[in-house]
């Protein structure tokens, strides 16, 4: 496989995941689409320089992270339930409008509870539970050991549980 084939395969595999990663950080479908495209441009730039990429998935997530950080530096994204409902319940046919709205509220409240965590910790929890990445993948993305990530997640879960019990 040449560079282009590797890259295009990576796009097919990762486009949705990267889009999701960005969407749950900017909470705007259109902006998320634009930033997803930008992420893949940046990844290709790296390919074009003929540089070695150890772990393409982790590398793409890292790139997406940098792009998101840059784009939301000036304004804090606000979560809109309607927007969330539209995006998350988009292709779901077997639930009613009310159920869909309730789900979106629940998701929003979970994401909202991450605010009590430090920014870096919240990022790890999002990678684990929103993006559904494995411990190993998270370790690669945040450049840490699997062990420390799993310990950290364990502690953060306790913390969140305590918070939910209080409210």
């Amino acid at each position: 496989m040449n560079q282009r084939e590797i890259f295009e395969q990576a796009y097919i595999d990762l486009a949705d995941q990267i889009f999701r990663y960005i969407y749950f950080r900017v909470f705007d479908r259109d902006i998320a689409k634009d930033l997803t495209q930008e992420t893949f441009y940046k990844v290709w730039d790296y390919f074009a320089k003929d540089k070695e990429i150890d772990n393409l998935k982790a590398f793409t997530y890292k790139t997406a992270h940098n792009i998101v950080v840059n784009s939301i530096r000036n304004k804090k994204p606000t979560l809109s339930i309607d927007e969330l409902q539209e995006t998350v319940g988009f292709e779901v046919q077997d639930i009613t409008q009310e159920e869909s709205l309730q789900q979106s509220h629940d998701i929003a409240s979970i994401l909202d509870s991450f605010k009590i965590l430090k920014e870096k910790d919240a990022e790890i929890m999002k990678l684990r539970y929103v993006d559904g990445l494995s411990i190993q993948e998270i370790a690669q993305i945040v450049s840490s050991s699997e062990n420390s990530i799993s310990v950290k997640i364990h502690r953060l879960l306790e913390k969140l549980r305590e918070y939910h019990q209080q409210t």
Binding site: Q3, R4, F7, E8, Y11, I12, A15, D16, F19, R20, Y23, F24, K33, T36, Q37, F40, Y41, W44, D45, F47, A48, K49, D50, T87, V88, G89, F90, E91, V92, Q103, D106, I107, I110, Y129, V130, D131, G132, L157, L160
Partner: protein, 346 residues
């Protein structure tokens, strides 16, 4: 089922791009990757290797030629490259008017060096000297333009104008000294060569042209002695010959005398200038005048190698001059084919 942290991903994974959005984005990304192809470290090196190689060869070739051309003299194949290519590059590299003027001074220096080299190597001919004279005139015109520009601008550049004058003056003076020395040495070596003084009165030359040529002696310091001695001779000859009342010879001498009188006047002027009595400011126009005699004399010397014409070589006149001199000065002169007037005073 209610969303919680454990099953959150089941819900969030529903957030995805539509197939249309995905395809559309794929097209964009492919277009982007086509526009920015992979630049391999190796392809980068070899892709344009032919272009680089030919550029390199051209560069080497051009620079070799222009370096070789630097030593060329007028009449040689590479000389036009030197004056038209190399020197235009040097000119175009200078930015300010003062720099451009200085470049022209250095080119004057070069031209005069070439003139000297040509004479020393005996590669001179009137045509080649003409080439140099024309070039010198070009440099002078250009220099004049820049100097005028500089002088009409602010005071800071005015100071530079004086500097350029000084530079030009020293360049011209040095080369004139060298050329005169060469002329003197040549005269010593080639006794057969007709003295420069003799050339002053070429046969059938209209008198109006004479002062121009005579200035060559006023500027040539080394020839001063010769000039003085020949003048003494002329004055004496005039006095003696006028007694003899020979009409033909008298006519010849009277033709010579005004020239010499002018010569004396000119010499006085030069002396006055040297002693600082007159304002000896170096001017661009002076520059031309200063160069004129040396170029004229060099040209004439050169021309002489091809065809020697001189009044003194006319057998009848020479015979009479010698006879009169022998009679008046009470000496014997060897009757060689040509002789030096200064020989009379040995």
């Amino acid at each position: 089922m209610k969303p919680n942290l454990e099953n959150l991903n089941e819900y969030t994974s529903k957030a995805s791009l539509t197939t249309g959005e995905k395809l559309n984005m794929f097209e964009n990304i492919r277009a982007y990757s086509n526009a920015n192809p992979v630049k391999s470290k190796y392809t980068l090196l070899f892709k344009h290797s032919f272009a680089y190689a030919s550029m390199f060869a051209l560069f080497i070739g051009t620079s070799a030629t222009s370096i070789a051309a630097e030593d060329s003299l007028p009449g040689e194949i590479l000389y036009p490259i030197k004056v038209n290519f190399n020197e235009n590059i040097i000119k175009s590299l200078s930015v300010t008017k003062a720099q451009k003027a200085k470049v022209n001074v250095s080119l004057v220096d070069k031209r005069m060096e070439e003139l000297t080299e040509m004479i020393v190597k005996e590669k001179d001919s009137p045509e080649k000297i003409d080439i140099i004279a024309a070039k010198l005139e070009d440099h002078k015109e250009e220099l004049k333009e820049y100097i005028d520009n500089i002088e009409s601008s602010d005071s800071e550049e005015n100071a530079q104008a004086a500097e350029i004058y000084a530079e030009l003056e020293s360049v011209v003076d040095i080369h004139l000294d060298i050329l005169e020395e060469i002329a003197e040495n040549e005269d010593d070596v080639n006794v057969d060569t007709v003295d420069q003084e003799d050339e002053i009165v070429p046969q059938d030359t209209p008198i109006t042209e004479l002062p121009i040529i005579s200035t060559s002696s006023e500027n040539t310091i080394s020839d001063e002695d010769i000039a003085t001695s020949s003048m003494k001779f002329e004055v004496q000859a005039t006095m003696t010959l006028s007694d003899t009342q020979e009409p033909e010879l008298k006519a010849e001498i009277t033709q010579k005398v005004p020239v010499k009188i002018q010569n004396i006047e000119a010499e006085e002027e030069v002396n006055a200038m040297l002693s600082g009595e007159e304002d000896a400011v170096f001017e661009i126009s002076n520059f031309s005048e200063k160069l004129k005699p040396i170029i004229t004399s060099a040209k004439m010397k050169s021309a002489e190698k091809y065809q020697a014409t001189s009044t003194i070589k006319r057998p009848d006149i020479r015979k009479r001059v010698i006879e009169t001199a022998e009679k008046e000065l009470d000496i014997t002169i060897e009757k060689t084919e040509s002789f030096e007037i200064k020989d009379l005073f040995r």
